[in-house]
Amino acid sequence: MIPAIGHCTVRTVPGVRRAPPRPHVQCRPVPTLSEADSKRLLAEHGVPVLDERLVTTADDAAAAADAIGYPVVAKLCGAAIAHKTERGLVRLRLDSADAVRRAAQELLAAARPEDGAVGVLVAPMVAGTRELIAGIVHDATFGPTVMLGVGGILAEAVADVTFRLVPISRVDAEEMIEDLATQRLLGAFRGEPAVDTDRLVDVLVGLSDAAIAHPEIESADVNPLIVVDGVPVAVDALVATRA
């Protein structure tokens, strides 16, 4: 089953701070899962995610960062928060407990009432030059599809993407990788090893499996899917369900 869904109602997830209620809550048209819940759902089907912790206080954030090792990333996490970067809710390259504590305080203070239940997600800061995008989208004509593309901030302008209908086989996934026009991005690149095709196939097949297990998924973005030492890792994820 889908975990908490941040639609019009705000559910209280144990251990997660609930923002004060407000009379006029602005509903988003498509219900979404929080980043942490989105990743948990996709990870159950084999999509690799980072070792990250969801906490509710600045002190817990610092403790989580100590456990993970520096540098870390801190992000405000909640079911109704979709565009974190645009709202300045992502803090990168935090290299000390103090920096993490400060960032977590600011993030929690930046929560808006319509964000619903929020927490701070503390994750290792990974380095990789190459960003891919992968996901699930429910096509009006063809039903659920799996997508792979070149990611990053220019993803939509570049539009080097490919789709297959769910379910996909491993061969389908391999052919998706071959479909990308920017093949040079997949080989050894700027001192980083070639993308591990098998691991990327795992991601795509995992997305297909997730779409089958959760027919209510309207879309799932794994963006970016960063290639770290040749291995793709979901650094952010957003699952939206059909209303």
């Binding site: 988003r28 048209p29 498509v30 979404t32 979709a82 995008i133 992968a134 996901g135 699930i136 989208v137 096509d139 009006a140 004509t141 063809f142 039903g143 599809t145 997508m147 593309g149 993803a155 939509e156 539009a159 993407v161 490919t162 789709f163 297959r164 209908l165 996909i168 061969v171 389908d172 052919e175 998706m176 071959e178 479909d179 026009a181 093949q183 309207e218 879309s219 799932a220 973005d221 963006n223 957003l238 939206a240």
Partner: protein, 487 residues
């Protein structure tokens, strides 16, 4: 679902009734009968006409009841929509099993027409009649020499099975078939596709011994998932080439999702085709050429292309075309192939792939080199350029003021013989060795009487209008072959 017998009644009927035959040569009811009789259909032909006046020498009857029982199993309907329900009932009573309804005034004409179409489908189902159309241009079947359509042309016989949501593109494909000579087995314009859809025709073609490759034009797809499963099933039984109209429609979805905004209709359709093993062509001519290639060439076993040319520039441009085709590879010249070619060519040849003969050829050079290249185990396909030159000069000499004197008669005959031999050799080698050998020259469209072009056509092969078009066709062939190999 309709059974196989129905499609035989549509494509290989023992007799055809043209309902609504007209004496006026401008009417569809006249043209349909004209085309049917002109193409030499061998079965019995009947025609109805309200006055019972003869049309094109055929006695007509005023009523279907006057047609002998069981003499016809296809009715070609040119009568107004309002007459067609009763017509179908009477035809069914006479043993008719299939109807091609060309009449308009159905779903394309608004709500009332849609109701009339639904009723037509209901009655056809009740009567067990396969209903093609309505509002379609007709049906072609070369094994039965049948041209039951209200437009030209009638194509040469061949192995391409066409089904189209647009009747005019059926004509376009068949015009290409007439030009290039790679012909058609069956062709049908689905019209409003009220009962039988493009996928149904393709499904029949996939098991039809007369058809080796499917060629389809589609526009709006309503049930994508079913369409996909049908196409995948068809493509597992025969190569299937699809061209889709409305491809540039950019329908962005779900604003919350980047994936969604990248999921344009065209991207998703493209992925569905790749997954199903369907060859998707960008244009009508590319679609025809891909289908004609599947119909006439063996499938390649790998991506390695060898280019054989008599002139440098052609080879360079063809190598460029291979280079920008992601799934093909210009084979690096194997050492043993180079050594063998050295024994047959003067030292100025390119000593590389493209194999540029650099004008060093004597009488037997081209067939010899073509064979050596095609037989090399690392070569998966050959693109051959440079035939037609001798025939071109031959034509100028034949049509000039000095012919047949000054030795011209003999040399022109030699040129023409040589050019024809080159393309015939390419066709024969391809069959014998089991590798695609594609020939290309613009003479294919600028002078179809050129002996190289004619030789290609008469060998049953497509002479590609450019090397680039040959490479595109080859790319489709390898994509399909690889898809099959991997599954």
């Amino acid at each position: 679902m309709t059974d196989e017998r129905d499609f035989h009644a549509l494509f290989d009927p023992k007799g055809v009734i043209v309902a609504g035959a007209s004496t006026h040569p401008g009417k569809f009811g006249f043209v349909a009968l004209h085309n049917l009789l002109t193409a030499g259909y061998g079965g019995k032909v009947f025609a109805t006409n309200l006055d019972g006046t003869p049309v094109l020498g055929i006695e007509t009857v005023a009523d279907i009841d006057e047609i002998p029982d069981g003499a016809a199993d296809l009715v070609f309907v040119c009568t107004p929509a309002k007459a067609n329900i009763e017509l179908l009932r009477k035809c069914a009573a006479r043993g008719v099993r299939a109807a091609f309804v060309t009449s308009g005034g159905y779903a394309e004409a608004g709500a009332e027409g849609k109701a009339a179409q639904d009723e037509l489908v209901r009655v056809a189902d009740e009567l067990g009649i396969l209903l093609a159309g309505p509002n379609g241009q007709g049906v072609i079947s070369t094994p039965s020499s049948m041209c039951a359509q209200i437009v030209a042309p009638y194509p040469p016989a061949g192995r391409i099975g066409i089904a189209s949501q647009s009747g005019n593109f059926v004509s376009s494909f068949m015009n290409y078939a007439r030009h290039y000579g790679v012909g058609v087995s069956r062709a049908v314009s689905a019209g409003n596709a009220a009962a039988v859809r493009v996928a149904d025709y393709l499904d029949f073609y996939a098991d039809d011994p007369e058809t080796a490759v499917g060629l389809a034009y589609v526009e709006g797809i309503s049930d994508g998932r079913e369409f996909f499963e049908r196409m995948r099933s068809v493509a597992s039984r025969m190569p299937l080439v699809v061209v889709k109209g409305g491809a540039s429609d950019v329908g962005a979805r779900a604003a919350a999702s980047h994936t969604g905004s990248l999921a344009t209709d065209d991207h998703v359709f493209d992925g569905a085709c790749r997954q199903a093993g369907v060859v998707r062509a960008a244009t009508i001519e590319e679609a025809y050429e891909a289908a004609a290639t599947f119909a006439t060439q063996p499938l390649p076993k790998g991506p390695n292309v060898c280019v054989v040319t008599t002139a440098g520039g052609w080879g360079v441009v063809t190598a460029d075309a291979v280079g920008r085709t992601p799934n093909l590879r210009l084979l690096p010249m194997p050492a043993d192939l180079k050594d063998e070619l050295d024994r047959h060519l003067p030292p100025r040849w390119s000593r590389n792939n493209p194999i540029d003969l650099a004008g060093g050829e004597t009488k037997d050079t081209i067939p010899t080199i073509l064979e050596i290249a095609a037989r090399h185990p690392d070569v998966d396909a050959v693109v051959f350029l440079g035939m037609g030159i001798q025939g071109n000069q031959g034509r100028m000499e034949r049509e000039g003021p000095f012919y047949p004197d000054h030795g011209l008669e003999r040399i022109v005959a030699y040129h023409e013989r040589q050019d024809r031999r080159f393309t015939e050799t390419a066709a024969a080698l391809s069959k014998e060795i089991g590798k695609p050998i594609l020939t290309a020259t613009e003479l294919s469209i600028t002078d179809r009487d050129n002996p190289a072009v004619a030789g290609c056509r008469e060998s049953g092969q497509l002479c590609y209008a450019s090397a680039n078009r040959a490479v595109v066709a080859l790319s489709h062939l390898w994509q399909y072959a690889r898809h099959q190999q991997r599954r």
